[in-house]
Structures are given as C-alpha cells and as structure tokens.
C-alpha cells in the first residue's frame, strides 16, 4: 500500500515553502501582479528554485537535481496552491522536467533543475494524458505552426515542441513569437506560440515524453488543488468565526456549520487521493489508476471549496480586492487543466474495465 502520510522532512519542506511564500506572495501582491505586465513572480521563483533548489526535486542528483521525488514536489505544489502563486513550478519543474527525463537531454535537464532556465511543454493546458495534442510542421529542418493555450510561456526560456515527425524539439523562446492570451486564471498566464521556420534541437520521441509529462502534471495538479481547497476552507472558517450578523458570528448558524463540515470531509478525501497519486508517481506502482482517480475527484472539490468560500464571504467575496476570486479562477481553470474530471473518468473506465454502455 502506498504511503499516504507526510514524513518529517516533507513537513519541514512545507514549512519552509510556506514561509517563503508568506514573504513573497501575499494576496494583495498577487492581485496587483495579475494586472501588471509581468504576470509571473520571478523573485518568488528565484527564491524557490535558486534559493531552495526546488526546481530540481524530480531530477536525479547525477543529472544536477535534488534526487527527491514526486512526494516532495507534491508538498511544494500544495503550498503553491494555497498561495495561488504565479510561478511556473508545475509547468517547468514538473511537466517540462518530466518530458526531458523521457529524452536524452541532460544539459537542459540540469539547467531546468537549477532554476537558471525555465521550460514549458508547448501543449495546450487542457490536454489530458493520452489525449490528442496539436503538433507543428517539421519541414526542411525547421518548425512551422501555431500552438495555443500554452501555460507559462511568457516566463519560459526554452519550449519543448512536439512536431509532426514524431519528435520533441527544444526551441529557444527568443526564436518564437509569443502572443499572450487573456486567461481566465490570471495567475497562470496562457499564450499562443508561433513558429515560423524556427530551428529546434531534436530531444527524443514526443509521444512518450508528452505522455509522461502530462501524467505527472495531472497527478501533481491534484496536490495544487488540495492546497487551494484547504486554504479556502481554512480562510472561510476563520472569517465566519469573526463575521457577525444578527448579533452573533455567522459561523454559528447550523446551516453553515454543516456545509463547512461536509467540505472538510471532501478535503480530507482529496488529501488521500492526491497523496496517493504523488506516491504512485514516485514508486511507479498503479500510477495510471492513481492519477485518474485523483483527477476524477480533485476538480469538484477544489471548485466546490472556492465556490463555497465566495458564497460564504458574500458581498466582499464578489469584489476584486478580496483574494477569493483568484482561488475560484484558479480552481475553475485547474478543473480543465490536464484533462477534465470527465476525461479522467473515461480513462479510468478503460483501466478498471468498467466500459461505457
């Protein structure tokens, strides 16, 4: 059976990341940043990647990383979810890194692991592991085409681009045209990438690399969703203990108490599912099922938690100044990212032999 608890080291890691984010990523700062022309918090990224070496958790030590595992990366993502931090951790330190781990590209892997460079897999954010993704045209040694809804490209130095010859190519971000799109979730920017005769370096087989990358992305996204749900629940409970209407704290109304208790139960379930996915990614056992289960479950909890937070904060929850909207937008976008719950349920139906009628 997989280990569903957190080790002491993992708790220490959590505490360190949480401290760092408290200094770097407070809610007013994140809100202000969403409207600036630097949507990513590169200072926080530098502190996480350079200062704490967290970009290399999934990379073996002999390849320049920390030689840790998905379990530790999951803890980092929980904290990033709690802070809706606008850093390219999931996209670079998990998804792009996993793609490179499936290829023969140790130099790039080391650069990503050190945090000196940021990578992005040039696949639309909504694609599920195993799902069809767009590729660019490989012609006369150069790449041509347009890819949309690619996450965190504005911060990326190198893009990993799948092409129609079946190869995955590394392309310098400065060699492509990046056009920002208007994202629903302002804390994880999206862009269109246009390649027009761009030279790339062949890294390996795209299908294997993309599948591995998206599977890890989907599996660890559950931990981000857990962190997000946990923050919204905790913060809502805190607020409702304080907010008085009818001469008493509104959290004392049983109608609200039961709902929050119910939500707590969902979050507890999500913690187990997310932990299981992280552990399965680390050990390689039962991974496909663990990831599909976590993703079939996580979105509804994260969205529900954020929606409840908004509803129970009521008027102030509807304002731009209050951070709850950041969480709602992230939760809703996460429910599409790396495949919807429905897509993961369909995948699960195959894996556990419960085919549709």
């Amino acid at each position: 059976m997989s280990d569903l608890l957190y080790s002491e080291e993992e708790e220490a890691l959590r505490a360190a990341v949480r401290d760092l984010l408290a200094d770097h990523c407070d809610a007013p700062g994140v809100i202000a940043r969403t409207e600036s022309d630097t949507p990513h918090d590169l200072a926080a990224w530098k502190a996480l990647a350079d200062g704490m070496g967290l970009a290399g958790l999934l990379v073996p030590e002999d390849k320049g990383g920390q030689g840790a595992s998905h379990r530790e990366a999951a803890v980092v993502l929980e904290e990033l979810g709690r802070a809706v931090a606008p850093v390219p951790y999931l996209t670079s330190a998990v998804v792009a890194t996993e793609a490179l781990l499936a290829c023969d590209a140790d130099d790039l892997l080391a650069e990503l692991a050190s945090g000196r460079r940021i990578g992005a897999l040039a696949v639309a954010l909504n694609i599920a592991p195993g799902g069809a993704y767009k590729v660019v045209r490989h012609e006369g040694g150069a790449l041509h085409g347009e890819l949309t809804a690619v996450a965190d490209v504005q911060a990326a130095d190198v893009l990993l681009v799948p092409a129609d010859d079946g190869g995955l190519y590394a392309v310098d971000a400065s060699a492509v045209t990046v056009t920002p799109q208007i994202p629903f979730d302002l804390t994880r920017p999206l862009a269109t990438v246009t390649l027009d005769g761009t030279r790339g370096r062949l890294l390996g087989d795209a299908e294997t690399a993309v599948h591995r990358a998206l599977r890890a992305g989907a599996g660890l996204l559950a931990s981000e969703q857990l962190g997000l749900a946990d923050w919204t629940l905790t913060e809502t409970v805190r607020y409702l203990k304080e907010r008085k209407q009818f001469n008493r704290p509104v959290g004392g109304f049983q109608a609200l108490k039961h709902r929050l208790a119910q939500l707590w139960l969902e979050v507890v379930n999500l913690r187990a599912a997310a932990r299981n996915a992280a552990d399965a990614l680390a050990t390689g056992e039962d991974t496909d099922v663990a990831v599909a289960v976590a993703q079939a479950y996580a979105a509804s909890v994260a969205v529900h938690a954020a929606e409840e937070a908004l509803q129970l904060h009521a008027g102030i929850g509807m304002t731009w100044e209050h951070p709850v909207h950041l969480y709602l937008k992230r939760a809703k976008a996460d429910s599409i990212a790396y495949g919807t719950a429905g897509a993961h349920r369909a995948r699960l139906a195959e894996l556990v032999d419960l085919q549709a009628p």
């Binding site: 409207e35 639309a124 954010l125 909504n126 949309t148 809804a149 799109q181 208007i182 994202p183 629903f184 979730d185 302002l186 999206l190 008085k244 209407q245 009818f246 001469n247 008493r248 509104v250 109304f253 109608a255 609200l256 969205v303 929606e307 908004l310 509803q311 009521a314 008027g315 929850g317 509807m318 304002t319 731009w320 100044e321 909207h325 709602l328 937008k329 809703k332 976008a333 429910s335 599409i336 990212a337 919807t340 719950a341 429905g342 897509a343 349920r345 369909a346 549709a356």
Partner: protein, 394 residues
Amino acid sequence: MTDAAELKRRTAELLAAHPPASTDRLDFLKARFDAGLAWVHYPEGLGGLNAPRSLQAVVDAELEAAGAPDNDPRRNGIGLGMAAPTILKYGTEEQKQRYLRPLWVGEEIWCQLFSEPGAGSDLAALGTRAVRQDDGDWVVNGQKVWTSGAHNSRWAILIARTDPDVPKHAGITYFICDMADPGVDVRPLRQITGEAEFNEVFLTDVRIPDDRRLGEVGDGWRVAQTTLNNERVAIGGMRLPREGGMIGPVSRTWRERPELRTQDLHQRLLKLWVDSEVARLTAERLRQQLVAGQPGPEGAGMKLGFARLNQEISGLEVELRGEEGLLYDDWTMRRPELVDFTGRDAGYRYLRSKGNSIEGGTSEVLLNIVAERVLGLPAEPRTDKDVAWKDLAR
C-alpha cells in the same frame, strides 16, 4: 373591469395615434404610460388601468408585433422591480406623480442604498444615521456598499436609522435620495468579473427634505419588506421563453459544436435542461397565481432556483468549452450600464452568476425565509430582538 379585448382596443388606439416608426422613442413611451398601458395593474393616471396583472402580456405582445420600442427594462431593474411597487404602496399622491412616469420610461434610473459594510444579511442592523433638523429636513451620514448601478442613477431608495434607542427593526426610516445632491459620493467597487458594476456610496451631511420620506418615521423596515419581496420576484421571476435563460447559450454551443461533446457532459446538460424548463414553468405558475396580489415569500423560492441554475449551467459551459474555457473575453475595468449575461462569454457568465445567490438576499437567508415563513418552522433563537440598536455588540 378592463378585459383583454378592451386592452387590445386601447393598444390599437395608442399605435394609431403614435405610429412607432415615426414617433420619437421617449415620446412613444410617455404616451404609452399616459394611456395606462405601461403596467396595466397600476392605477389609472399612474401608468395603469387597474386591470389584472396577467393581462400585461396581451399588451406587450401587441406592441412587440407592431415594432414599438420598449422601456429597456434591464437598464432600470431596481427602479421597475423594486422602487416602483414600494412607491405605489407607500408613496403620497405627489410622490407617485413625481417619480413613477420618468422611472417607467427610463428617463430616471434608480439604485438601492440598503447594504452597509456591517449590515448585509442583517440589514436591519444598519448604522447610516438620518437626523431630523428644525426645519423638518433630514441630514444623513453613513456608508453604503455594493450599490449596483449607483454611477448611472438619478435616484436611490435609502434606508437609514432615525432612532438608535429602540430595537433595530423599529428605528429605521425609508427615504428617496437624490444621487446628484452634494454629499453623495459614489466610488467604483471593482468586482470579480473585472468590471465595477457596483459601488461604495459615502453619504456626508446629505440633506433630504421630508417630502422624500416614504412611509412613516420609524416604519422603514416594513416599507423595505415590500421592496425586498418584490426584489426577489424581480430577480427570479422574469418571464422567459423555453431556453430563454442561461440554458440557451450552452444548448446552442452544444448543437453547434459536436467536437466538444462527451457522454459525461451530455448527461449533465440534459439534467440542467430539464431543471431549467421546470423552473421556467414554476415561475410562470407563480406569476399566474400572483395576478394582482403583492408577492410574498414565494418569490424567494424562484430566486433560489434561478441562482443555482445560473451557476451550475455556466459552470458546465466553461468546462464544455475546454481550451476556450481557459480563456476570458476582457478583464478591463469599466463601469457598465447593465449586467450583460448574453453579450459576454461563458467565463463572464460563470463569474457574474456567483452574485445571483448573494445580491437581493443570500440563498442561505432565503432558505431561512422559506423554512420559517412558508413552512412555518420555528425561527433560530434571537438575541437582538428586544435590545436597543445602540446597545448591540458590533
């Protein structure tokens, strides 16, 4: 008694005297009001003919067929849905004559200065003070919040505390506030959608003449009940054709975009389609029941149902759109004239509809109303009923 045939005759007369094609829009609307065809259940001279409320549909259909302009009801939802019925019930003859016609034709837009930072669900706890002067005028000080459309409004319905020494429900008075008066400061309050549709309103030494008081001094809570009951019907009870609500856009997307379809989404969509159709029928049934009466707590049920549906359907639509669901149309900060549910994309609908279960009373509070006033269940114990407002903990 004015019946359908009589209304049709009068409508034909109006159209003959003021052909829509050659009549100025506002002139036409004024003529319609004066002919008693604005809201037929209102009294004569105030836009109506004392006819059954249900016959409005007859007039509306005739006018629509003739291409007549409407009064753009979405622009003045608070005026039409809430201020008007309250003025009709509690206003003096002069007040009715002064306010109802420009309100109905849309020359004057209204907003609602009820909620305060510390008084939301517990509206009766409000602290904005109105103090009577020697000359009989009132001077008002306080802060209101989440005031929809205050930036476009000519008038506001306002409730304020006129007696802090009595329990909270007893010390409130209802006023009509001139939004152009000195001392009324409207500041945009941006919301989750990116727009500033509502506002903060600061009231500093605003002078309100006594002839803008609605109802008796200290009776404001009762007057406000009329507003709130009508608000729930106004929000929940629009008359809609099949697929006329939030289910329309998503159904169209489904028909036009086969590539987005999955089995999972199909089942969810059909369930929501049925729920929408049933909610529509329930609203229609409520309307038939109301005919000429004043709305009661049943309106809460309609509002509850539509809030849930709007949120579930728009949430499904964002997911259905997949890659497009990850995008938004426009975050620009602006101060819109109305809530444009159909002119914007699914993401906007999703975010804006979150307000449907908060504005005009939260769903939690409305469920309490249904439980207590419709089902007659006992109320929660109350500790604030017999305490003077000024002695309540804040």
